[in-house]
Symmetry: C2
Subunit: 263 residues, 2 copies
């Protein structure tokens, strides 16, 4: 699995005056530019694996597409780091509003959405399924372990996984936490399936963008090995998403909507 990482000779200092040369695995980070219907849309810095999944997940989370049927064709040029996407219908409004922020009437504090329709039409997720905390511990352990790309680069690679019916459905890796999340969503969409996952597990920090992606994909529980930000908890409370962080062994913090978790 050298595609995730390269080998490189590094000077390892063990203490002042004591050093050796050692070959280490270093995680890859490449610029990948996405073109939509001939127009440059965005450049992502990512680990160059599962690029179709990345592009599809990214576009779905950004509401440029709703599912894989919106796409006529995807061409990936790995060497040049280019992805050409031909959409059946390209709603240019999506491009014009990409990355733009919408001031909600609350102003200031309430400003959390990037999509105009989200501001207009927020529908908090109802509490439907509930989850044993013990199951979450087991799932997180499985995600943390399940990797053929660990080794020396472990520190630099993030993983994301989707869980459906208490089973890990898909797991993907990337140098960027957002990209790993986009890849798991894109992977389901490319199979022409609806996303019915109950839970998103990420090794990375939960920032507002992770919550926005989770909301766009209809996933009501977000679990992380790391910590959430204050804004992500605020969004989670508005949308009734359960946020769990700092999962370590049998320990965890539940930051919002604990009603979904059976303790």
């Amino acid at each position: 699995m050298i595609i995730l990482a390269i080998f490189k000779k590094v000077l390892q200092v063990k203490e002042s005056g004591v050093f050796t040369k050692k070959e280490l695995r270093i995680v890859r980070e490449n610029p990948i530019t996405i073109y939509i219907n001939g127009e440059e849309f965005v450049t992502l810095l990512c680990t160059p694996t599962h690029l179709k999944e990345l592009a599809v997940g990214f576009l779905a989370a950004e509401k440029i597409i709703t599912n894989a049927n919106d796409i006529k064709e995807i061409l990936v040029d790995k060497d040049k780091g280019l992805i050409w996407i031909e959409l059946k219908v390209y709603r240019k409004i999506a491009k014009a509003t990409y990355g733009k922020r919408y001031l909600t009437s609350g102003c200031g504090k309430g400003t959390v959405f990037y999509h105009l329709n989200d501001v207009m039409d927020i529908k908090p997720f109802p509490v439907v399924n509930k989850f044993e905390v013990e199951t979450i511990f087991t799932l997180v352990k499985a995600v943390a372990k399940k990797t053929d790309e660990k080794g020396e680069t472990a520190g630099g690679i993030h993983k994301a996984a989707l869980v459906e019916d208490n089973k890990v459905q898909v797991i993907k890796s990337d140098v960027g936490r957002h990209n790993a999340v986009d890849k798991v969503f894109g992977s389901i969409l490319l199979q022409n399936k609806e996303i019915k996952a109950d839970m998103l597990i990420t090794t990375g920090r939960i920032s507002s963008e992770i919550l926005t992606k989770s909301y766009a994909m209809g996933v009501p529980v977000v679990v992380s090995l790391s910590t959430p930000t204050a804004l992500s908890i605020e969004i989670a409370e508005n949308l009734n998403i359960t946020v769990i962080g700092y999962v370590r062994g049998k320990k965890a913090n539940i930051y919002s909507v604990p009603e979904r978790i059976i303790l």
Copy 2:
């Protein structure tokens, strides 16, 4: 120092069936939108401290400005998360090319720059000053410690520091590693000083963007508690920047240009 974090009651699970409510500090993440001469430029997700420094550092790293004299006025509306900047001269080319990628003649692999002038005119840094590895250990320890904002939120906050003449000149914190780096650069520029720092220390991962910022600010040594990506090492080698990662106590990895380090 509650501005960096909020307090929030969190449900802490200690093991299945055992849980308590505990008040934890959660790092703040706010959307801050920068307007230049009346036009929306970018929205950053950041910890809302030192916002002037953040904006000035960001604009300098993006080559929108070269120093604080290019700015006529900065107004910060903290509540609404807006920063209004009036530039003496606004080179619109900078906006048109923001975030755009330039394909170098090497293509694919060689594609690392976002600024047209960088692609045209790369000047690797000469080796001038050298640094005792022991000094680097001491500096990193000081940066890791020196914080009035640690405590419960430690996991979610990144720090960046600039070192001049073997002394920490400035240190800033943010939920985002890039923002912390922008804040330290902005802090020097706002004092109407030139950046003469020898070394950038960051608690976060070294990605290509950190290298690009370091290059833009003329800093030849980048030190991290975490790991660099393959692309950042490649850029470092092209620009003759020393990259040191995984600094832990008296251990460190030197990934590029070890000539600057006295072992």
